[in-house]
């Protein structure tokens, strides 16, 4: 939202004086909605300013304790200290975090926090787990220390502080120094080595930014640490000044080139992981595949009188949705049941966190983000329709609903505004919500026992919670007490009762890999022995009973697949006991530390702490407009909620023009609340070249003000309004007097413009490398502009812009665009088109008129996935070349329609580093009112994303 609003403001600043309504510049894009009005406070500790809101004060104090503890540890690791206070911004949930204005972009669910080094801010959400909270805080502080340390090294050697070590090093170290080698790291590395997709250091660029890179980087630095000591890692940073390439720094410090190091590292990994195959298997070798394409998670099983079906959360098209497949039919194509991420109601699933549950009556319970908070949805699978959507006001994040066997209640885990992750029971009939746990421990994956008397769940309320372990616990509905079901330093999760209620399947990571285990639970007070059902090299998740078999999610070859063990019950009956039950063993839960109120701490209400974002001054010379100089300043507060922009420049060509040629604009942009607004005043003066009237130069002096508001209805829809008042004095310049464009001022028009516009925008599109591939984009704008003083202008505008994308395959789509633009009245502005962006085959912006229509059809498809050139001195690789076949038709006119223009052809698009798309189109124009093709071919090269 921030980008979009800022873009609008700057478009307005530069186009308002000459054209108060230029709605064709309005951009699409989704909205970052500020649903929640946070009341920010600041907790000051020895080294941190911690920003929090009162609902999460207890969490903030625990975070403060972790931050100070981490600071002390990293101070020693780095042999370095940070001189400035570190701003640490906490959110009590990921949904709140997604609203942050400290970064303009959208934050995916997988982002656990970030360090923004421009203002030195660390922004971290709490996800219910204190262990994860500590991990993320320390991870981001590793970045803070590294940034400071590298900066100090470069500063010492009088070098520009303009580069950092490669991402595998920065993120790998952040992982290595923030946590122990955990099960996820082990899972990924085992799989990478055993499945054969391990990427050596010399090719690490190929996986830059991926989760695999994080874990390989972590493993690599762990390897260095074990072999040479962590001081070698520190030395890599101390030696950073010695070369512009990190590979040289690595060679100087470690004494080996990347390739030499790779030999040893990969050999050590093989030696470590290959022997695993003697006692364990890859899931694909010993289980039955059900869904192997795309990303898949959280299966649930339903048996009706006639069918057996598996529902699961998957992403097979770019949008995460709920799918179903018939159980037992390997290779069946999944069908979409609930399409996600396109509508306000199903804005986003939590495919890693939240399981689903299906009632005996066939009602599927699942959660999605829906507006400010998560919502619980009840979906009738037999009727194929949604029954209810339930919002719980005080609960922000929901997870893993589980039906009671009688279908009268649902137990669900939820994170409230304080950040606590607890269990709740929702009575479907009375709609009464009852909280059954209430503490700082992370309670998740609850499941009703078939007799309805107990709830089994996974929690870190164990003695081993400090190291990230979760045990299974039982909540007794009668005594309303919690007791251990498992006991140990491992992580037990995703419990699921067998249909007869006699056994419980769950996962446990004993031995380093998360596998499926089964426990006899004839009596939960005295559970039977545990038996290990699977012996995978990698991992299994979310086991659910499917009659006598188990359906689960496997991780293998870096993909999450749905698989089954059809004879799970029989295997359990015949396998040997792996471990005895643990119910008699108990221990006190761990107690996370909290920074107590010491004299060093003070909690203050947040007041805007502004600092510079951008300061730029420039002198430029243009053959037409001459020399101009100016400066731009932008200030924003630490939370990014308020921004002030100042623009000052001068276009004087001689000393007597100096005063009259000052251009000044001041804007305030507010993103703090749901309704974003901006207002400002400006004074512009100088020669202009009107793109809509190419033969006209003019000199214009104008001043005025504007206010614009934007209200997001949801992530996908918004309404924006703009009002501006501009006093304009426009002098046409006769360009036939070459050499002296100022020589012939003819005061031709004075006006006091009052302009109002309102627009509605919808965008749920999904993008590929060169542009959208799925979804819809739509904008309609109505505007009225009049000269309220001199009556020199009086016109209205209607803009209609509709774009629809039909997915044909994973990476190909058919895109359609329809433009209808209409300006009418006195001094109505012309629209323009032509060129690669709209009507292809015609000169850029050569087709002009106050009325315009255009229809574009484009077939987008992958052309080349990789294009590499190898030269004797090195190589360059381009990825993601895309092709297009197009057909355009349209025209623009003032009074008489001149006939339809068109073009047909093809093109190639190349995305350069995600920043810019180069596009080359060739084809034939369709001329003479669509009666003949041009002779020869046109070719147009430009840049820009697909429409």
């Amino acid at each position: 939202m921030r980008i979009r609003l800022l873009q609008s403001v700057f478009v307005l600043l530069f186009f308002l004086p000459s054209s108060p309504v230029h709605a064709q510049f309005f951009t699409f894009g989704r909205n970052k909605v500020q649903y929640t009005d946070f009341n920010w406070h600041v907790l000051k500790t020895d080294h941190f300013d911690i920003y929090y809101y009162p609902e999460m004060e207890d969490l903030a104090r625990r975070g403060a304790f972790i931050a100070e503890e981490s600071y002390r540890a990293l101070e020693q690791k780095y042999n370095h200290c940070i001189l400035n206070r570190i701003p640490l911004i906490f959110y009590s949930s990921h949904l709140h975090f997604e609203q942050t204005n400290t970064t303009p972009g959208f934050i995916p669910e997988g982002v656990g926090g970030f360090f923004e080094f421009f203002k030195g801010r660390v922004v971290i959400p709490y996800d219910g787990s204190m262990f994860d909270f500590r991990h993320v805080i320390r991870h981001e502080l590793v970045h803070v220390f590294m940034y400071s340390k590298i900066g100090r090294v470069l500063y010492d050697h009088r070098m520009l502080q303009d580069h950092l070590p490669p991402l595998w090093f920065t993120e790998g170290l952040a992982e290595y120094w923030s946590e122990t080698w955990d099960q996820q790291a082990e899972m990924v590395m085992r799989d990478a080595v055993v499945s054969g997709y391990f990427v050596p250091l010399s090719s690490m660029d190929e996986i830059a930014g991926t989760y695999l890179m994080y874990k390989e980087g972590q493993n690599l630095l762990r390897f260095i640490g074990q072999r040479y000591g962590d001081e070698k890692i520190l030395l890599l940073m101390e030696n950073f000044w010695k070369s512009g390439t990190f590979e040289d720094v690595f060679r100087m410090t470690i004494g080996e080139s990347y390739r030499e190091f790779d030999r040893e590292w990969s050999y050590a990994l093989k030696k470590q992981y290959y022997p695993l195959l003697a006692g364990a298997d890859q899931p694909a070798a010993v289980t039955v595949p059900l869904v192997t394409e795309g990303f898949n998670s959280k299966p649930v099983y339903e048996r009706t009188a006639t069918d057996t079906t598996i529902y699961f959360i998957g992403n097979h098209s770019g949008y995460t949705s709920i799918y179903r497949i018939p159980c037992g039919r390997s290779g069946a194509k999944p069908k979409v049941v609930v399409e996600g991420e396109k509508t306000d109601e199903f804005e986003a699933f939590h495919p890693f966190q939240s399981k689903m549950s299906i009632s005996p009556g066939g009602v599927l319970a699942f959660v999605t983000k829906s507006g400010e908070n998560d919502a619980l949805h009840l979906y009738d699978t037999r009727a194929g329709k949604e029954l209810r959507t339930i919002h719980f006001n005080d609960l922000v994040v929901l997870g893993s609903p589980s039906w009671s066997r009688d279908g009268t209640s649902i137990v669900i885990s939820a994170v409230d505004k304080s950040g606590n992750s607890d269990l709740y029971i929702w009575d479907v009939r009375t709609e009464l919500l009852t909280r059954i746990t209430n503490d700082i421990y992370d309670d998740k994956d609850p499941v009703w026992s078939p007799d309805g008397r107990t709830i089994v769940f996974s929690s870190d309320r164990t003695s081993f919670g400090d190291s990230g372990a979760y045990n299974l616990f039982v909540w007794d509905t009668t005594t309303k007490t919690v007791r251990y079901l498992t006991w140990g330093p491992e992580t037990y999760s995703s419990p699921d009762f067998s249909p007869d209620g006699k056994t419980l399947a769950f996962t446990c990571n004993t031995g380093g890999a998360r596998n499926i285990w089964i426990m006899s639970v004839d009596s939960l007070l005295n559970p039977g022995p545990m038996k290990q059902l699977t012996h995978f090299t990698t991992a299994a998740f979310d086991p659910v009973w499917a009659d006598s078999g188990i359906v689960f999610v496997s991780f293998e070859n870096f993909s999450f697949q749905i698989r089954s063990v059809p004879d799970a019950r029989a295997r359990y009956d015949t396998s040997v006991v792996s471990r005895q039950g643990n119910s008699v063993v108990t221990g006190p839960p761990w107690s996370p530390g909290k920074l107590a109120g010491s004299t060093e701490i003070s909690a203050l209400k947040y007041t805007g702490d502004y600092s510079l974002d951008v300061a730029q001054s420039q002198i430029s010379t243009d053959p037409v407009f001459g020399t101009a100089g100016g400066a731009f300043l932008s200030l924003s507060d630490l939370l990014g909620n308020e921004e002030y922009d100042f623009l000052l420049y001068n276009t004087a060509q001689s000393s007597d023009e100096l005063l009259s040629s000052f251009n000044l604009a001041i804007s305030r942009v507010s993103l703090q609340r749901r309704t974003n607004f901006a207002y400002g005043v400006y004074r512009f003066s100088g020669r202009r070249y009107d793109l809509t009237d190419p033969d006209e130069f003019f000199f214009e002096r104008s001043f005025g003000g504007y206010i614009t508001l934007s209200y997001p209805l949801s992530k996908f829809r918004r309404i924006s309004i703009l009002t501006s008042v501009t006093n304009s004095e426009k002098d046409a310049t006769d360009n036939s007097l070459n050499g002296s464009p100022l020589a012939n001022f003819d005061p031709s028009r004075r006006a006091l413009f009052l302009s109002n516009s309102v627009s509605f925008t919808h965008d749920n599109s999904l993008w590929g490398p060169s542009g959208p591939l799925d979804g819809t984009r739509f904008n309609i704008t109505l505007a009225y502009t009049s000269d309220v003083k001199y009556s020199n202008a009086d016109y209205y505008s209607v803009i209609f812009d509709y774009r629809q994308y039909f997915r044909l395959a994973d990476r190909s789509a058919w895109a359609v665009r329809l433009w209808l633009f209409y300006n009418d009245g006195k001094e109505a502005r012309r629209f323009f088109m032509g060129g690669n962006w709209d009507l292809r085959g015609y000169d850029r912006w050569s087709i002009r008129g106050t009325k315009l229509w255009l229809i574009s059809n484009e077939f987008r498809f992958p052309f080349l996935d990789q294009l590499s050139f190898r030269f004797p001195f090195g190589g360059v690789t381009f990825v993601g070349l895309r092709g297009a076949l197009f057909f355009d038709a349209g025209n623009a006119w003032d009074t008489d329609y001149p006939g339809t223009l068109g073009s047909i052809g093809g093109g190639v698009r190349l995305n350069l580093f995600g920043a810019i798309v180069l596009r080359d189109d060739f084809g034939k124009r369709i001329e003479d009112n669509f009666t003949r093709f041009q002779q020869g071919w046109f070719n147009q090269f430009f840049f820009g994303w697909d429409f």
């Binding site: 020693q76 200290c81 050697h157 009088r158």
Partner: protein, 397 residues
């Protein structure tokens, strides 16, 4: 019209000529900076002529410089500071920077006595003796050079490999360690190699970030693998080695027939200088990057968890401990009964050498990573905001 043109040209000239002159001066100044002393430099016993103050790196000096101190002057440096301190000879302070400069300041006034760029980076403190300055170099073709301060010329230079430690001066030779793990002894007169120690596989070659100390006829240094090695100072033969569990980055100290060294394994060691046997070890709870100081039966070390710890040189018993607010990288410098030590918390502390009690402190603008240089002229401290600060005993005590 013509007049107008001339007027404009005159205006242009008036504005541009000074700029041109300034540019020429800047270019000229940048290209021929000089360190040429017009006064003889005669080092005396009260000078802090090398890292650690003496060849044994004891950090002890018998001058009186009691706190409280006043900041007399401070001056900007051309580059950052390595691990070693400023050195003093006669009344001149010499500073080596990570930008490869040697800068000289008058100790009393802070006025710059000259500067000279000698290489890419200088990590270790130089040694000033007999009118010459000896310094090691890093990231450069040369390893060490001898610079004559009166003439401002490089007398000799030698290329043996990159070095990031301070040299130690003996009667006729200079000894230094290289990053690749070798040790060289070169003639003070002409830079000829007198002996060299290149460890073979059996001698655990590893990088050296620990400046060598000299005493008792031996040269002692630590390496990144945790080996403390003693060489015969006259011939370079290996006398003994001692192994710590992690690297030894700080310089060892040779005092009273003992070698003291801290290790990244968080332990402080006292070794018999004659045979390398362990006399005592003291776990201090956090890695030790700092070089120690030793004298009067005590040894003092800084820890990376921010403590300054006083130990009994005889037994390793902890006599006192003082906590700063950040890691201590700097070596202590003891003037008579006062111990001066800087911390990364930007503060220079004066502690009672016997009690460890805080006597005085002063907060600078940058982190202090290197030892204070103490002399009869005052205490000279380098901070990583690229400044040297000179303190003198307060006149308002």
């Amino acid at each position: 019209m013509v007049q107008s043109v001339f007027l404009r040209m005159g205006f242009l000239m008036a504005r541009t000529v000074p700029v041109l002159i300034l540019l020429i001066c800047l270019l000229a100044g940048g290209g021929c900076s000089a360190l040429k002393l017009t006064i003889p430099v005669e080092a005396s016993g009260g000078d802090w002529r090398m890292a650690g103050g003496d060849p044994g790196r004891t950090g002890y000096i018998r001058v009186s410089c009691p706190p409280p101190l006043d900041l007399r002057w401070s001056a900007d440096l051309d580059g950052g500071i390595g691990s070693s301190a400023a050195v003093l000879a006669d009344s001149i302070v010499f500073v080596a920077t990570l930008h490869g400069d040697i800068q000289a300041f008058m100790a009393r006034t802070g006025s710059e006595a000259g500067s000279r760029r000698l290489g890419t980076a200088i990590f270790g403190a130089p040694v000033v003796e007999d009118g010459n300055l000896y310094t090691t170099l890093s990231g450069d073709q040369n390893s060490i050079l001898c610079y004559e301060l009166r003439s401002g010329r490089i007398v000799w230079k030698a290329a043996m490999g990159e070095t990031e430690t301070a040299p130690v001066v003996l009667e006729n030779s200079i000894v230094f360690c290289t990053l690749s793990g070798s040790v060289f002894s070169v003639s003070k007169k002409n830079g000829d190699v007198l002996w060299k120690y290149v460890p073979g596989p059996e001698n655990h070659p590893a990088g050296i970030h620990s400046s060598p100390a000299a005493g008792e006829g031996t040269i002692v240094f630590g390496n990144d693998e945790g080996f403390l090695t003693a060489l015969d100072a006259s011939g370079g033969g290996k006398l003994w080695t001692f192994k710590a569990r992690a690297g030894i980055i700080g310089s060892p100290v040779i005092a009273g027939h003992r070698v003291f060294a801290g290790s990244l394994d968080s332990t402080f060691y006292a070794i018999d200088a004659s045979n390398g046997s362990l006399l005592w070890s003291r776990p201090l709870g956090s890695p030790l990057y700092s070089s120690p100081a030793s004298g009067d039966g005590r040894v003092v070390a800084g820890t990376s968890d921010g403590r300054v710890v006083g130990l009994s040189a005889a037994s390793g018993e902890v006599l006192w401990s003082f906590r700063t607010n950040a890691p201590v990288n700097a070596a202590p410098a003891v003037a008579d009964t006062v111990l001066y030590i800087g911390s990364l918390d930007k503060t220079l502390y004066a502690l009672g050498a016997v009690s460890g009690n805080l006597v005085w402190k002063y907060e600078l603008e940058g982190r202090i990573r290197s030892a204070a240089a103490v002399s009869k002229y005052g205490v000279f401290v380098l901070s990583d905001d690229k400044k040297i600060s000179a303190f003198v005993p307060s006149e308002h005590r």
